[in-house]
Symmetry: C2
Subunit: 221 residues, 2 copies
């Protein structure tokens, strides 16, 4: 099943960067609530991107992320002032990359490497620049360029348009089960990075490979 | 804000019927896990309907409900044999209606009353027939007739096509925040039935009214 592909396309949130690395900032703002806040925040961020896509009411992922944070604070009955909001949103622009990322990218330096994210550029650029990841990625593709969130088929089409490759030339890598389902349904090869022993969603679509971290994708070189 | 409307259009799951009434059957099948199973099952059922709509991979809500049940049992590491699956799915076809439903419908008998649900007819008909609700509803509208799940704008359009009314003649009633957002975004008047003191989602869209049960919708008569 494993073969050599031309392009390695990476999801960002949860895949290259740990979204739960904002937990420290959450805990500093709201002692005792950091873990729960962080979890609901992520869940609502995803849900709002799906719902806005379904309703035809696109807003950028940064705005969606802020909306999700506001909901979460109301839900947990904690008061989010401007200063705390700024601190938490800034934490989202400086997420921690997973430890193996840099080495994996280095070993793929003869391949086409791209980021493909629901994140808008105002979220992706600080993140990529902060860790100097720009040197590895030839393309930073945001759905904001066409204003359709993953996992619509049209969103994945953007990758082909930008990279000028065919579907079967792409290995798409994500930790998110819904993203893997969308990408596989569209026709990419897919590697699901399952760091925490989750189970795959029952959507009738299965990844080509399941790995416990990114190093294993090197077998597609 | 409140006015008289011609048509009262009801969501089904969580609005007329208590989806958590399957908890008893869940607990009988999997002692000690009923509550958790029931909660994850509902959450995944909704998520899968959204994701299938986004990916363009529609299946009926009955199939989605079965998929969500299978996921949930895997997640909770319990074994779902055919007999248990049949028992639990049957429980979903005999949910308990909220106690005020019958009386409210009776008081609206000079209005156009409709059900509008993501449920397919193989789910809705057993439910409606079991409680003889057919006598109250002039229309049982399933998104399965057009194969698009709520909350897409096109799904709500089906209501207008069937009832031959204008948007502003409709009060749409739901307990589900995402359904209220979709219906309001489409242009219906909306009453959010908030039985458990939840907070509204931050989608930039707000219901016309928030009630703690269905009896209060009578002010739109």
């Amino acid at each position: 099943m494993v073969r050599s592909v031309e392009a390695f396309v990476f999801d960002v949130y949860g895949t290259l960067f740990d979204v739960y690395s904002v937990q420290k900032a959450c805990e500093e703002c709201f002692p005792g609530k950091g873990e729960e806040l962080c979890k609901i925040w992520r869940q609502k961020q995803l849900e709002y991107s799906f719902l806005r896509q379904l309703m035809g009411r696109y807003r950028t992922f940064l705005e969606v992320t802020k909306d999700a944070l506001r909901y979460t604070c109301k839900k947990l009955r904690v008061s989010l002032d401007n200063k705390k909001e700024e601190k938490l949103i800034n934490a989202y622009l400086q997420l921690t990359p997973y430890k193996e990322v840099q080495q994996v990218l280095k070993e793929l330096d003869n391949k086409t490497l791209a980021i493909f994210s629901n994140g808008s550029r105002d979220m992706l650029e600080p993140l990529v620049n902060h860790y100097e990841f720009g040197q590895w990625f030839h393309h930073v593709i945001s759905v904001d360029d066409m204003k359709q969130f993953k996992p619509t088929p049209a969103s994945y089409m953007l990758v082909l348009d930008r990279l000028k490759v065919n579907r079967e030339d792409v290995l798409f890598i994500s930790s998110n089960t819904w993203d893997i389902a969308g990408a596989k349904s569209f026709g990419f090869y897919t590697a699901w990075i399952n760091r925490t022993g989750e189970i795959m969603d029952e959507l009738g679509i299965w990844p080509d490979c399941i790995y416990s971290d990114l190093t294993e994708i090197l077998e597609w070189k």
